[in-house]
Amino acid sequence: MGLISNGSTLFDSGSLDASVASGSMTHIKTLTASDSSTLSFVNGASSVVLDNTYKEYVFKFYDIHPSHSGTRFQFNGSVDTGSNYNATKQTSMFVAANIEADTDTSLSYQPGDDLGNSTGFQDLAGFGNANDDNDASLAGTLQLFDIANTTFVKHFIARTNYMTTGPYPVDTFTGGYFNTTSALDAFQFKFTSNNIAAGTIKLYGVK
């Protein structure tokens, strides 16, 4: 069923018409962790869209809480709809941090958290491992550009804020590219060890 008003189609076949103003950032999927080892977004599965529908995809992280300390939040991409998460990446990371006790600050490049043409998972939080205190968490944004492109590498940028042991709030800036001309069609998030005890990850598409 559709609806036409004054000759203009407002919606049909279960979708708003493209001419209807509906905003340029569209929510695609929300995943909520419950002591989860991984959270994965796979194109074509569970209503997830990760293809050439959008030129940019944005992941939002809210209150990501680890089950244990001594671990870092990280992600990887897939070129085979989630069969493997090991796309090659070249990345850099820097952080700003300030300990609660006001005895230490840092503005520094994080060589232990970058990747040089590596298939490993990319840390999204540097400087120190996550704090698992009850009130500790991670929040932030990861933007991925034109992941369906089969000509160019796929760039991404991320900014996260989290509490590390100390405790410090750490403002983490990560950038890089998936060094592949294959389309990326799935992404997975996890801690380096143990589980994501709680938290929400939302995926948006940007027209």
């Binding site: 979708s15 708003l16 509906s22 905003g23 809210y62 609660e100 968490s137 403002d171 929400t200």
Partner: protein, 204 residues
Amino acid sequence: MGIISDGTTIFDSGSLAAGLGSSISVIKKLTASSSGTLSFVNGSSGVVLDNTYKEYLFVINNCHPSAKSNFAFQGSTNTGSSYGVTITSSHFQNKMDEGNTGTHSLTYEAGRDLAQSTSFQRLTETQNTANDECCSGFIRLFNPSSTTFVKHFNTTFESISDNPSSSYNFCGGYFNTTSAIDAIQFKFESGNIDSGTITLYGIS
């Protein structure tokens, strides 16, 4: 009443179905006019600052001070009765002067971070007051209604300081409380906000 098209709900209960509308909603825009402060208080003047959204975005445009001062913000856990939530944060700046004299820097700004302080969080370097000078930027505030976790925020601001210089500022940290944050206030640390706008958005 709702409408279902080909098995897909288009709208129901007065709202577009999830995924069909915009994910960024304008909540409130405030315009300064020699204002001592600009405040967004949940439940007041159409402001929503609760668990309706997981993320709130403040966009600050062309805030012009009456006196040389730092632009700053704080939160409240008592709907604006007081603004003095404990914050720990970091702050760094990238800077270059107009004269291109080589006065450029990338530095941690110890005078603008906070360590378990209830002071206002500085968002910029000391802002100049010439007629064409102002600051602009944005703040992301994550899940302020949580009563379990600290409330993270990050800020990005561009301002004009001393020589004059372009001063590009990055601040990140958390409100170190498990109480919900339900109001946010902005001000220059001295003088007024002569002009400028601050718009609050919710991200769903």
